[in-house]
Structure formats: C-alpha cells, structure tokens
Symmetry: C4
C-alpha cells in the first residue's frame, strides 16, 4: 500500500478570505492522507504573485493518519506565514506517497461557502 | 466496460459538520458508480488525526447501479462509526473497478454550502 | 488537437434538488467542450440506485463549441428523463475526444450553493 | 522541477454570473502556477455555444509565481472579451508546464457560493 498517492502535489488557487461572519471563521486547509506504514515528512512551498516563494518545513503526517493543516496557522504549515487576502498557490512535497486535497471555507458574506479540489499529482 | 474506473480511491478531506440549520441536514456522501456487469463488494477505511483507522466492510453496489452512501449512517458504510466534527480521510476499495466522488453539504451557518471532489484513483 | 480529452467520462454524484428559492432554479449541467475540428455525437447513460439505467442519444456538440446540458431538460440530454430528488450517476460517451465537467446549483435553502467536478476520464 | 504540470489545460464549465449582491462581485479566475525557473507565456482560447472561439494572447506568468486571472477583465486574459451570463469553456496553452485551476464566486443570490476545479491536463 506504500505506493498509493504521489510525492508532489500542486494546488494553484489559494486565498484565505479576510472577512468572516457568524461563528465560523473563513479558512483553508491542506488535507493530507498518509495511507502508508511510514510517517511522512512534508515540506510546503507557497507561491505568490509578486514576491519570492515562502517555505514551510518539517510537517509530519504519521503513518495511517490524516492531517488537515490550516494555512492561517504557521505552526501547522511548518512555520510559513501565509497572509490573508492575497492570491497564492501551494506545492506539497512528501518523502513518501500521500494524497492531498485543498479546501476553502468562506464566510465573508453572510452564510458560508465551501470549495475543494484534489491537488494535481506530479511525481508518483 | 468492466475496466472503467479503479479499484482503490482516496479522499483526504472528510468532515461531517456538527450543526445544521433549516430543513436540510449537514452530511457527506461517498458516491459510487459501478458501471460494470458484476456487483461490486466494497470496503472502506476511515483515517483520523489521532486514532487508529476504522473499517467498514461488505457494502454492495450492484452491477450498473450507483449508491450514494451517507457517512453519518453506519448501516450505509459497512458498520463504521464516523463521528461528526472530526477531520477524517477515506480509502475505498472495491473488487471490481468503480468511480468514487465525495460530496459535503454544510448547512451549519444559515443557507447551505456544497463541496465535492472526485477521489484520487490509485489502482486501475 | 483532435486527441485532447477522452471518449468516455463518468460522474458519480448526480442529484437535481427538488426545491428552489429566489430567482435562480436549482439545476445541474453536464458541460462538454469539443476542442476538435469534428462535431461530437454524444450518448448519455444515467444510472440509479434502484432501477435500470436510462439512455439519452444523439446529442451533438459541434466542432470547437461547448454545450452546457441541463439534466432537467430531456431535450438537452437526448430524451432521457432524470427525476428530481433522486441520486444518480452519469456516463458520457462521445465519438471524438471531449472534456466533461458536471456542476450543480442548489438554491434549496435560502442563498445558493454550487459544486462542480471534472468527470473521471476513462478511454483516451 | 521544470516538468511539473502540463502545457495544455481545459476547463469546460465557464460562466460569469450577471448579478452580484453584497460587497463581493461575482467573478471567475483562472489560477495558474508556474513552478518552473522559466517565465511562462500563455494563450487562452474561449469557446462558446453559438459563436467562433475567441483568443487571448501574451499573458505572462513569471517563474515561480502564481497569477489568478479574472476572466471579466480583458487586460488579464490577453485581451479576450468574455461576456457575462453566457456559457463558455476555456483552453489554456503554455510554453512551459504549468498547473491550472478554475474557480467561480457567485454572489447572485444573497450570500455567496464558490466552486472550483482543477483543469483537465492534456499534454505533459
């Protein structure tokens, strides 16, 4: 089962909404499943429109566990600071194959909206 | 037509919202199409952030039928209990090729939101 | 450019909501792009949970055109009658490669929700 | 890293909603990540139901940058005019591999809705 997934995933549309309404905070999560029997060590590269990429390092997803990493919490994405209200893209690299999905909750305007995509798998 | 789809599918972002408003209940569904001429016998593995995986067994999707399995109903997912309000991921394994999509309805904050992804196909 | 896309696409999660609020009607669309220089002739197979599949035939997507086919309008899906409020799945088959995306607008509970997936490509 | 992504991407379901409510304008964005070390030069072909395709040319996504291109702003999509309220599809072609995601925000009916798909990759 160790070869399920890919080592590199890319998600082009990242954007943490600035505003929230109601009790649910606008946020995004990079959802990783590690179905293998080995822990996965993950690094993240955040790309922007007008500045150099920013790296987050040393995120661990244990064997047979999932982690849903909030991009607005630097401690969950290896120390990277991702500003709100700014378009970004993200590349996820793992030392063992994983599967990556990216989801957004936007409560910026009464009620809430969700969107989600599986990343684009690159290296198998 | 028996080779359309894949035997293993992975969806990293599972989360059954705790709250519902209005007449529609927050829920998720694992939607399976079996386009083949043979019944499909399906097992599900649910992965969590901080506990061992949970298995559901013996779900049948008949030949040339679809089933939309509610993850909050153990009787629809082979007996697995998936708690609300907890991040999870799911791996679907079938004995014949199928196609898997995962959708969420969230009515946790006035109005409703939907999200949906096709799973990541692993073994063909 | 005639090989861009696939001849068979599958979408497991179909569901035309029964209720609508406001001015926008709940609906789904099967969005097809034919980027080739030849007209595409398309047939659709709708699968259900508890009845035989239903076929729609003879839908044409002209060369270098897109069509967004409403599943609640039999005249747009080759004569197939897809009931509201019933889970279904759909398989799209074309005589030339096309690209297929499936989207839902749900206005069943104040405000509106959208979801969309690219189909699962089968034969290239 | 120059081979991550694809040179051609297709998104069948484009539609810029005509109405907006609240402070957020209904819009779509073609989100491109160029993870390579070379600038990407991009052309876009917009397909319609009842008219000839329209081209946009000369969009640049610099090396290691993302751009989220609003389809309602001709200056962001190489000069192409995409009307609101009309179904379209889009094909993105790049001279270096990129990754393409397409997202819609619809605020046409109180509250907001989001949908997003990764494009269908064609040439690697």
């Amino acid at each position: 089962m160790s070869s399920e997934g890919a080592r590199v995933w890319i998600v082009p549309d990242g954007f943490i909404p600035e505003r929230s309404t109601g009790g649910l905070e606008s946020h995004e999560a990079i959802c990783v499943l590690n179905p293998s029997r080995s822990d996965a060590r993950i690094s993240l590269t955040f790309y922007f429109e007008d500045r150099e990429p920013v790296r987050g390092e040393g995120v661990v997803v244990p064997a047979e566990r999932t982690r849903h990493l909030r991009t607005d919490r630097p401690e969950e994405v290896g120390g990277a600071e991702v500003p709100r209200g700014v378009p970004y893209a993200v590349r996820v690299e793992s030392d063992v194959p994983v599967v990556v999905q990216h989801s957004r909750m936007d409560t910026g305007q009464e009620a809430l909206a969700l969107m989600s995509v599986l990343g684009h798998p690159v290296e198998r």
